[in-house]
């Protein structure tokens, strides 16, 4: 987790495009953690990148118009196999997939989209409730990013037990989402028995969350300047969860059907990761260690899990190792956790003005949030979820594969349309 103040610089070479908002562009250097903010007038420095077209809704630049007879399918929304409100435009001449363009606008925030969620104009404590409902399955990451940004503006330094609680929440979120991604791949491979065991394991983690945070998805646990924990002893369940996970992975790794479907599916090279500005699991599966926990003082000595094959199997193996890594991270900070409210909120809003950005490594990759406070309210709020970037990586990865590979490709990225809300 890193948070940074906003600065302006124009050197973008070797930097990864991280977000394109209406009035500024964010670049990040994943070797040093340095963040660069460009005004939108400097868009010409990055507008040839595919991610720029994707984030700005210039989808025509990503579409393939071929001269051979080919079908253009609209897959979703409300289609079987897509559990969320989202869609894909797929071009194929029968079996092989030639081109995919993800359509993420169905869940966009704001007027004409998900109008019930409104962050701007609200007091930070109230805005926080909205923020954690942008993407519920990554809500601990969202609420942590928001609280970090606001605390930075306000100059509030939180205690180590607050930091520990947030780390625990974000890592638990990673565990159940990684288990979920493995479950989805197992569904695609018709591994019915494994599917049941994996779902039961995910339920165990969600129940642990409920005991620890009072909510299965940790809504309401984060406060500005603090956290609220319930039954800290619930974490003793972690041993059983780890044992169960290890055993399930062992069983799955000897299943030839399961492994074969993942091997060589949706392959992405390290060069493609650089070209697409891909992050998180997509990058780590292709040997590129893009993980913002490297730069966080809360994760001393953190080393990202990296696999080099770049296929769906590599991405699933990153997840397997990350679940174990997350469990050991939680164990390290477990002693710091205290039940009850730790510093309950903060009331000096009216005096606080300023802007800040925060990054948190959410389950599929890093999440970026920008907050501007003025007059005790959120004046401006911008967010870029990891899925907003990695849907493009998925689209490139699945090209050239056949239709039956589609779910194995998609689920290995573990994305959510609710997390891609920043797109136009």
């Amino acid at each position: 987790m890193i948070s940074t103040s906003v600065n302006v610089e124009s050197n973008v070479s070797g930097k990864t495009l991280s977000a394109v908002f209406d009035d500024f562009i964010v670049m990040i250097d994943y070797s040093s953690g340095e963040v660069t903010v460009l005004p939108s007038e400097e868009a010409h420095l990055v507008d040839s990148r595919p991610l720029y077209s994707f984030l700005t809704g210039k989808l025509d630049e990503l579409r393939l118009y071929c001269d051979r007879p080919a079908f253009r399918l609209h897959y979703g929304p409300l289609s079987s196999g897509i559990w969320e409100a989202g869609a894909f435009e797929v071009v194929s001449y029968g079996e092989r997939i030639l081109n995919v363009v993800p359509l993420c606008h169905y869940k966009r925030l704001g007027d004409g989209g998900r109008e019930l969620i409104k962050v701007e104009g609200k007091e930070p404590e109230v805005a926080l409730m909205e923020v954690e409902r942008i993407c519920g399955t990554f809500s601990a990451s969202y609420s942590t990013a928001f609280t970090m940004a606001v605390e930075r503006i306000a100059g509030v330094e939180v205690d180590s037990n607050v930091k520990a609680a947030r780390i625990a929440a974000v890592e638990l979120e990673r565990i159940y989402n990684h288990v979920h991604a493995i479950y989805r791949v197992a569904v695609a491979a018709s591994q019915k028995v494994a599917v049941s065991h994996l779902l039961a394991l995910e339920e165990d983690v969600l129940r642990l969350n409920f005991r620890l945070f009072g909510h299965r998805y940790a809504f309401g646990f984060n406060r500005i300047g603090g956290v609220r924990l319930r039954d800290v002893k619930a974490l003793s369940k972690l041993d059983a969860i780890e044992r169960e996970f290890d055993e399930l992975v062992e069983e799955l790794s000897v299943s030839k059907i399961f492994i074969d479907r993942l091997h060589n599916t949706a392959k992405l090279s390290a060069e493609e990761i650089a070209e697409l500005d891909a992050i998180g699991i997509a990058a780590k599966g292709s040997g590129v260690d893009r993980d913002v926990r490297k730069f966080s003082e809360n994760y001393p000595g953190f080393k990202p899990v990296v696999k080099t094959d770049g296929d769906s199997l590599a991405r699933i193996l990153v997840r397997v190792d990350e679940v174990k890594q997350s469990i050991s991270i939680i164990r390290e900070c477990e002693g710091e956790l205290r039940a009850g409210g730790v510093k309950n909120g903060w009331d000096g809003w009216n005096a606080v003005e300023g802007e800040a950005m925060a990054f948190v490594e959410s389950p599929p990759g890093d999440l970026l949030m920008y907050v501007k406070l003025s007059g005790g309210r959120v004046e401006k709020f911008r967010v870029r979820g990891a899925s907003a970037i990695n849907y493009l990586a998925f689209a490139r990865g699945v090209e050239g594969n056949i239709f039956t590979d589609y779910p194995f490709a998609l689920e290995s990225f573990g994305l959510s349309f609710a997390d891609a809300q920043g797109l136009l």
Binding site: K107, L116, C135, A200, F219
Partner: protein
Amino acid sequence: MWVIRGLKKGVLTTKFPEEVSEEERKMLRVRMCPDSEKCPLEFCVSCPLGEEREAEVVVRRKIPFSKSIHVFFADVGSCNACNREVEMLNNPYYDFHRLGIFFTPTPRHADVLLVSGYSEEMVKPLEKAYSAMPRPKLVIACGACAVEGLERTNLKADVLIPGCPPSPLLIMKALLLARGDRV
């Protein structure tokens, strides 16, 4: 060996609706908002600060027969947490198939349209899915967003499930009530 693992684990499945354990009872409760004016969603009732009480599933209309039901799930702009809880019904802890409830991948075979979330962009696809369903079609709003969001569409929710998100057990209870079961 999967078989041995399964046997070792024993039966995880809830005895709901016949019996409800202490842990499950909590999942059927909601927590009222201590300051509803500030809350983003009227039917959220999942506030960790709030006072606990029994969840009230509102049933305005039921399916006029008591048989197995087929559910078409439509996410129309959720935050994905409601979706996850619906997906969790497949889990051996709940195993909703044993109660004669099944998901169907097409609205043409569905008795029930289970809706989560709300986005204006999804209103048209939702109405199209509804019109493809055979009668008698029931609409269930799953979670605070859908309860509030459906009000903005031409569809009328027949069953309202409060919560943000509602627990899988509460969704299961609502599906049984919609079928006319006594829960």
